[in-house]
Amino acid sequence: MANEVCLRFLGKETPWKLKNYQSYGGYEVLKKILSEKTPPAQIIEEMKTSNLRGRGGAGFPTGVKWGFINRDAPGKKYLVCNSDEGEPGTFKDRDILRYNPHQLVEGMIIAAYVIGANLGYNYIRGEFWNEYRRFQDAIDEAREAGLLGENILGSGFDFELHCHLGAGAYVCGEETALLESIEGKKGQPRFKPPFPAMVGLYGEPTIINNTESLASVPVILEKGGEWFKNLGVENSGGTKLFSISGNINNPGVFEVPMGIKFSELLEMAGGMKDGRPCKAVIPGGSSAPVIPGARMLDLTMDYDCIQKAGSMLGSGAVIVMDDRQCMVKVLERMSYFYYEESCGQCTPCREGTGWLYRVVSRIENGEGRMEDLDLLDDITPKISGRTICALGDAAAGPVQGMLRHFRDEFEYHITHKKCMV
């Protein structure tokens, strides 16, 4: 049941080459759509049926999002693919770019056809140089084969696709900061509304989808929305790429159906290293609050279940920690990340992330005070929900989660000025 959508050609001979991708059946869906001139509304319906929810982390239904753009309205429209996966623990889109770039290109052409965009960008994380090159090669190959550019496959539809390498800012994964970055500006999220579907790249209507979402499109349309939906569970259709890392034997990317048991996923990843107990799991990238290991083993990997447990599925980055990990140190590292990555425009995030980091760091270094824990409890809700983008929430979430589940470890640190583990 694994690797059926985005990683469906994994294991085959160089599937990132156009020739091979086509020999495995790639670009057939696109050809069909363009030759039959499938009505875009029909494609949107199919996407809605599939219940594909945005794989970047927010989980917004892709079909609904596409419906926000009136493809027949005059003026330019843009399609942007967000390959800036910067969430600590996430490395799933990298594998798509590496092993199946043409499926993403195909998905983007179809999406552009649906929304009426003639220009698209794939914004790739700055550290993904090799993947950037590979995707660029794929674009070049596709253009050479008449799959990109003017009058694609004689259909009269034009679509040009550009690759844009980021410069290493986490916040540029936020879709409007990403647009600013493409425009050559400092990567800072825009205030919303207006949403990008109304005022996006260069002020024009823009649809931004995650790499995994777009790469799923050709398969969904080939096999049908119903088929895709049924792979998963209620409210979480299809399969999902999980990047699982931490104290496990076989870290990596696994494409599995939504709703799979966490224990099964852990099994696929080779189980806990050295057979140690699972102490804690961050189920959806570092901004997702931590869940104690024992609890996690009872959960299934889908949007609803993880949310009910007080965290979120996010980008599907699962970080597994065993009993040798000090939660204070873990939190210090994560808080440092958000402190460094806050873009700096909103006061609560700019000032608050530094404050959180310094307090946690003091506790880690044996200079904590018991009232610091109340301070952290008090500051975090003043950051969450008070900023333009979700980075403030992302910085507050881990602190809140750690204090909720591992407060004793923090207290131990403060009292004994050393680690519990």
């Binding site: 909103c346 530094g354 310094r358």
Partner: protein, 769 residues
């Protein structure tokens, strides 16, 4: 924005508002205060400071009032626990890294952060970690930085991008490391740069000349009108013990909005310059001697009387267009009392042929400039000449107006425009060709050929909803100014555009109304046929006149020259026989009439330095000493009442009666001088404003020519050139400047070193020196 009205509720009060208006504006209108830092009514909404968070019913998170449009039935709470907790939270975050050392901060006492902290801050700081420190940057002589105090509201950045039209400041770095700066160290050079001090809500950007010289609570605030360009910007003077410590804008939406040009903001420093004339002086045996007022006035009266010798025509008065209405009026009256009509204010004009407007003006209200759809501007650089008029034109351009310039210089502009750069003589051809594009045939228009661009411009002027043809100072200084008026009038009339002037000085328009150009003296004639006695008001002969060489000779020949001046200077020392110390900006009451014909009166605020006296008082007493009737006014208001009565509601107008077939005085061949006036050399006061003179806009006299012209003459950058105009000569350094058209030499006026040269615009020869 929709005009539809909606009803919302703020803190239980019902408020009507335009649908889509931002909540913060609606609350402000209703007098409900919501704290804010990044929001500024003239700047785009950035919604990043998070201070204006309020509760909106049915929304779980607090929303920023600055970025939340109102809709019908919306219920807003600005004081609810959710709102107040959010506001207090933001306040605490803002203060954790802010140095809480208000007593040593220049902004202390007039600081938005300080004020809001009183309402929303806690008395205890829970932040015990180290605070952020940011190295200060040197951004030039006008604005001091104290970047550790910055709260990252980005108002200064948005001001640069949106109002000044130059992105000089930006934010670099992320998160806590975010800093305001220029990236690569440079000065902030916008002509409106001082406004970033006003928009900065904290003490991060402050006035460099004013810094640490006074505390806000020691200052007394008085209103005044800026004395330089024809905008008539409204200002507040901040005084301590009768001394002007700084100048800040006074909001007037119809004039300067809430902005002020740097020239108007910093020129006050000139008031206290070292060469300020503080005592009456009389020249005795070639030596200047300080005397008391009585002796000086008697010497002035006797000298003028003797020079006239019973023939009033032997007297002439040259008054600066920066003088007040009252000064000009009394000077005129004084001359009339002595039998002379020879008064003029058009000091930088070279062509006085008849038919030019008697009382020229902008032709519209200032705010109307931004409503224009098509504008043709001839011989002007509004960004430098009248920076805030330039700002209005920029606004028009940003709204999509097509703006075309015909200039003898390529301008550095901050908006999209067409610039037709040509020689001074060529300006007439360009303008005539536009006339041709409008199918006109008269005069020189018939001989020109309209190219596509001329036809396109003609069409755009004709088709525009609102169009204007505007002349500027370089058009007036042109040897064929009357022809330019004539052609511009023809183009405006036939295209339906409004004809207007961008006057150079604070009271150019008012002076025109009093002096009634056609009936009174003409500067050139008054100097070409030297009179025996001159009254000079508020000018320096070598710097403020169109043809300094001619003026120098005339004053040498004159038997007696009396000067009312705020400052001493070499050329005035040489020309005058009596110098009467004049109260200057801020020290005198009076009235200026701005470009749009708005009469703006102001009271004297600062104590005149030394024995200086307001010009109207000096002239009034001089009238008494000369025993001329009608010099009994007790205050400035009475003088103004007299002027108003005499003008009897007369309005400025741009009526042109020029035959566009006149002889052309600007030779089409040969080297032409372009003698525009640098922004900070425009009048005696600004020339002495020390901080402004340290900016990049300070220029020294030079010959600016393009590389091609230089090559042809065997000149090179850094070399010296001998500039000859008539029998006047000057040796000046050569600067290669590609903004100057071929066969032209930009030798700017009003600069030391150009005293011996002739007309600002005219034939000139260059040789290697």
């Amino acid at each position: 924005m929709s005009e539809q009205l909606v009803t919302i509720e703020i803190d239980g009060r019902e408020v009507k508002a335009k649908a889509g208006a931002m909540l913060i504006d609606v609350a402000d209108e209703a007098g409900i205060h919501i704290p804010r830092f990044c929001y500024h009514k003239k700047l785009s909404v950035s919604a990043n400071c998070r201070m204006c968070l309020v509760e909106v019913e049915k929304v779980p998170r607090p929303l920023p009032a600055c970025a939340t449009p109102v809709n019908d039935g919306m219920k807003v709470k600005t004081q609810s626990p959710l709102a107040v907790t959010a506001q207090q939270g933001t306040m605490e975050f803002l203060l954790i890294n802010h140095p809480l050392d208000c007593p040593i901060c220049d902004q202390g006492g007039e600081c938005e952060l300080q004020d809001v902290a009183v309402g929303y801050g806690s008395d205890v700081c829970r932040y015990v970690e180290g605070k952020r420190v940011v190295a200060d940057k040197n951004i030039g002589p006008l604005v001091a930085t104290d970047l550790t105090r910055c709260i990252q509201c980005t108002r200064c950045v948005r001001f640069g991008a949106e109002i000044a039209g130059v992105r000089e400041l930006g934010a670099t770095g992320r998160g806590e490391h975010m800093q305001i700066g220029t990236y690569i160290e440079k000065s902030v050079d916008s002509e409106l740069s001082g406004n970033i001090i006003d928009v900065c809500p904290v003490g991060s950007l402050t006035s460099k000349p004013f810094r640490f010289r006074a505390r806000a609570w020691e200052l007394v605030q008085r209103d005044a009108v800026a004395p330089h360009d024809s905008m008539g910007s409204n200002v507040h003077l901040h005084l301590r013990n009768g001394e002007i410590m700084r100048v800040v804008p006074k909001e007037n939406e119809a004039v300067n909005e809430c902005w002020l040009s740097d020239r108007d903001r910093y020129s006050y420093q000139g008031i206290y310059s070292e060469d300020r004339l503080t005592k009456p002086l009389v020249k005795k045996d070639g030596e200047w001697q300080e005397v008391d007022w009585k002796e000086a006035l008697e010497a002035a009266a006797n000298g003028l009387k003797a020079a006239a010798g019973g023939d009033g025509d032997q007297l002439a008065a040259l008054v600066s267009p920066n003088s007040t209405q009252e000064e000009i009026w009394l000077a005129k009256k004084l001359l009339q009392g002595m039998g002379s009509d020879n008064i003029d204010y058009r000091l930088r004009q070279g062509d006085f042929r008849p038919g030019q407007p008697d009382r020229p003006w902008l032709g519209m209200a200032i705010a109307e400039l931004e409503e224009l759809d098509a504008v043709l501007i001839i011989g002007a650089n509004p960004r430098q000449d009248q920076p805030l008029l330039g700002h209005r034109l920029r606004k028009a351009a940003m709204k999509g107006a097509t703006i075309t310039y015909i200039n003898p210089l390529q301008l550095v502009l901050n908006y999209r425009s067409s610039q037709w750069v040509t020689t001074p003589a060529g300006m007439l051809e360009e303008l005539a060709a536009v006339g041709k594009g409008l199918n006109l045939r008269r005069g020189i228009i018939a001989q020109t050929k309209a190219e596509d661009r001329h036809k396109a411009l003609a069409a755009s002027l004709k088709e525009a909803g609102k169009a204007a043809v505007l002349l500027g100072p370089m058009a007036l200084a042109h040897p064929d100014a009357s022809m330019i008026w004539g052609l511009a009038d023809a183009v405006a009339e036939s295209s339906g555009a409004t004809l207007g002037l961008l006057p150079e000085a604070a009271n150019s328009t008012g002076a025109g109304m009093i002096c009634e150009a056609e009936n009174n003296g003409k500067v050139r004639e008054l100097l070409e046929n030297p009179r025996k006695g001159y009254l000079l008001c508020n000018l320096e002969p070598s710097l403020d006149l169109h043809d300094p060489a001619l003026a120098g000779k005339a004053f040498d020949k004159a038997e007696f020259v009396v000067a009312l001046s705020a400052f001493r200077g070499d050329s005035l020392d040489a020309a005058a026989d009596v110098q009467l110390p004049l109260a200057t900006f801020g020290e005198t009451s009076g009235t200026f009439v701005n470009a749009a014909g708005d009469w703006q009166s102001f009271a004297g605020a600062a104590k005149p330095l030394g024995e200086a006296r307001p010009g109207w008082k000096i002239l009034r007493v001089l009238g008494n000493v000369l025993e001329i009737s009608g010099f009994d006014q007790d205050d400035c208001g009475q003088v103004l009442a007299e002027i108003e009565e005499s003008l009897a509601g007369r309005k400025p107008e741009n009526k042109v009666k020029v035959d566009v077939n006149e002889e052309r005085w600007m030779p089409a061949e040969g080297m032409a001088r372009i003698g525009d006036v640098p922004i900070y050399a425009a009048d005696p006061l600004v020339r002495r404003a020390s901080a402004l003179q340290e900016t990049v806009h300070h220029v020294e006299a030079a010959v600016r020519i393009n590389a091609e012209t230089a090559k042809g003459l065997g000149l090179e950058e850094g070399g010296q050139a001998l500039v000859s105009q008539g029998d006047g000569q000057a040796t000046l350094p050569v600067v290669i400047d590609e903004t100057v058209p071929a066969n032209c030499a930009r030798v700017q006026s009003a600069l030391a070193g150009t005293e011996k040269l002739g007309a600002a615009f005219g034939a000139v020869t260059l040789t290697k020196a």
